[in-house]
Amino acid sequence: QDKLSVLLDWFVNPDHAPLVVAQEKGFFKDVGLDVTLTAPADPNDPPKLVAAGQADLAISYQPQLHIQVGEGLPLVRVGTLVSTPLNSVVVLRDGPVKTIKDLKGRKIGFSVGGFEDALLGAMLEKHGLTLKDVELVNVNFSLSPALLAGQVDAVVGAFRNFELNQMDIERHPGRAFYPEEEGVPAYDELIIVAHKDKIAGDGRIKRFLDAVERATLYILNHPEEAQAAFVKGRPELNDDLNRRAWADTLPRFSHSPAALDAARYTRFAEFLKARGLIKTVEPVERYAVVVK
Amino acid sequence: MNAPLRPNTLAPDPLSITVTGARLTYGGTELFANLALTIEAGITTCLLGPSGVGKTTLLRMVAGLAEPEPPTAIDTSDGAPLHGRVAYMAQQDLLLPWLTVLDNVLLGARLRHERRSPALVARARALLDQVGLAGREADRPATLSGGQRQRVAIARTLMEDKPLVLMDEPFSALDALTRLRLQDAAAEALAGRTVLMITHDPLEALRLGHRIHVMTGRPATIGPALEPPGLPPRAVDDPALLALQAELLRRLAG
């Protein structure tokens, strides 16, 4: 059994289903891995700690990867967990904002991820607005409460599989504007990153990705059993919200976690450069690889 | 110069206090049981007794600061409670370090939210002058010598204009001459008032006391009053006093 430490991006939630199911179903054990999953409180920490050699793998986000690599962190993407964007701009469905245009002059809450303003800027520009036309407020991790309580008119950084359900349960259904439909190129929301210099000859990563792939397929084939495995030992995850989020997340898992679409990464890097978040567009192989 | 020491209000009928059946225990030891003492109206009663016999405790009991046990009774001649009618000078000077000398003397007025009238301040200054501390009004207690601190405490007590005055060894830190001077000043200021004064100096008791009691024993008892002839303040070199001093020492020896 080889040990392998994995830092999640946030507390365990349905986004991590393939990892948790692989753990619970013994898929990791089957490939000779003893995996520990650790949740941080700040999603910005895991990539740093992997870069510092504190853990083998971290769950992160594609936009952040570009920024981090731009700042010189020795990171490389080795796998994909969720292959579509999850991020979205959310407003109250029966609120005054019907289109992006209606955001003019309004308060928009965000939870600092480092990339929300760029994303929002692109979406606004498609509709003839700029960031100067709105007021951005950091609401930390209280996105839906801020929106529901009317403190802000919209939030950016809400996950479509999560916050929308949350609002629905509270009987204040929301409306989402999807970045990939509003001028932002599509990207992988959740990716798996490793230290650049440590992947060569490390057979564990390939085996890990195999187990994740197996778990993803298992979830698709046996949603009920997978759900049961997911909440086993985590009774706090067995509630209405998580069950709904589970259903909404299933179709978004990458069916081929190890595969890489290099062109997609280049396209997104160019987008980020245009928005001023990175200075150069590096060759994809410097920061995203297919592990052999 | 002596005028300010005399209270500027008309003193009411002097008060007498009778303590009967007084009982007080500290941790199982009876300090006194069934102790009786009359503090006669309008005169100075001096209390002597060996160190640790319970003089301070008795004084505090009269001042309402020590909790006596039944069947203790403290009766006043006018039947009204003593609270608010006592000026108390403790064995320690108890000056407040953050107040100036003058403000320490004016403490009572400050605590009772009385107006700091020019007359009041003038009286305090005159008292300080009387105890030999003119010019030190603005100093803080930390810069005073032991005897100077005690003199501020005396001025503070005389400043209080109360029918009953309780003083615990008020002159113990003073040199012989200052002591004589202040004894005279105090005797004059307190004339006509009911005073209970603890002292260790038999001669001081004989100079100042109309009646002198000696407290001895455990549980302590109070002996009969010794009433020296003549009116206080008596002259130090009065040969009658020297004879009485020997008598007092005999009583002290119990």
């Binding site: 910005n44 700042e71 010189g72 600092v112 950091n138 978040l277 | 953050w98 939210h113």
Partner: protein, 253 residues
């Protein structure tokens, strides 16, 4: 002389910092070296000044409010036995509640403006000040209380003229703690929700992996803390000249 010492302190700190960085080989995206931070400080000076001004205002307002409220509540606790019995547990509980649980409530009631940050700073300062003063009020020399009683002082008058001045040194001790923790209070408040301030800047820099900027903001915050502490310390010494301050290490022997 004092300035020189402060400069040397700063130099030693920087050297230590550099030492840690060099010796442990912490990567710069976790702990950048002092040079990198100095560079960021200089490059981003206008940004730091702007956000620093916001935070400083919050700190000062919070300090003012926290000390006023803490002082008032200590006096209330000391005045009314009932208050002491029922309120003390409440105060203690208030310390154990993490901000983020309160954050949505605070924002709901106070909005995203400066009020919620000042409220946080106040909350952080409040307890040390209250406990220190209340403890001081309890430790009055009994002789003074006896004296005041015979002088016919009301309870309120004793509190005001005897207990309170006697408790000022203890209060000063609480103030010192308050001065040191006020900055973190304001920063926590900014995390609750804000669009400017050093806390906001730090979150932002952290997300963008501009760790040098993050640490530059930390440096500014540290300077605030030290300056505040020094100012409060000097103020206390001035205000309490009658208070023995016997620096142990200055004794001769």
């Amino acid at each position: 002389m004092r300035l020189l010492r402060a400069l040397i302190t700063a130099a030693v700190l920087l050297a230590l910092w550099q030492g840690v960085v060099s010796l442990t080989g912490v990567p710069r995206y976790i702990l950048p070296g002092p040079l990198a931070v100095a560079d960021a400080l200089q490059r981003q000076a206008p940004l730091l000044v702007r956000h620093g001004a916001t935070t400083l205002t919050e700190i000062l307002l919070g300090l003012l409010l926290g000390v006023a409220l803490g002082g008032a509540s200590a006096l209330t606790l000391a005045s009314f036995r009932t208050a002491r019995r029922w309120l003390m547990p409440l105060l203690v509980v208030s310390q154990a509640i993490p901000v983020f649980a309160l954050a949505p409530l605070l924002v709901l009631w106070l909005g995203y403006g400066m009020a919620s940050k000042v409220a946080m700073a106040t909350l952080v300062i409040f307890f040390p000040v209250t406990t220190a003063l209340f403890d001081g009020l309890r430790r009055t020399e009994p002789g003074w209380l006896d004296l005041a009683r015979t002088m016919g002082a009301s309870r309120r008058s004793v509190l005001w003229h005897i207990r309170l001045p006697a408790a000022l040194p203890a209060f000063g001790s609480g103030l010192r703690v308050a001065a040191a923790v006020a900055p973190i209070g304001a920063v926590i408040g900014e995390w609750v929700g804000s669009s400017s301030g050093l806390g906001y800047l730090m979150l932002h820099a952290n997300a963008r992996m501009q760790i040098d900027l993050l640490f530059a903001a930390l440096v500014v915050l540290g300077v605030f803390a030290v300056a505040l502490y020094a100012a409060v310390d000097a103020l206390i010494r001035r205000a309490l000249p009658w208070q023995p301050d016997t620096h142990p290490a200055e004794e001769k022997d």
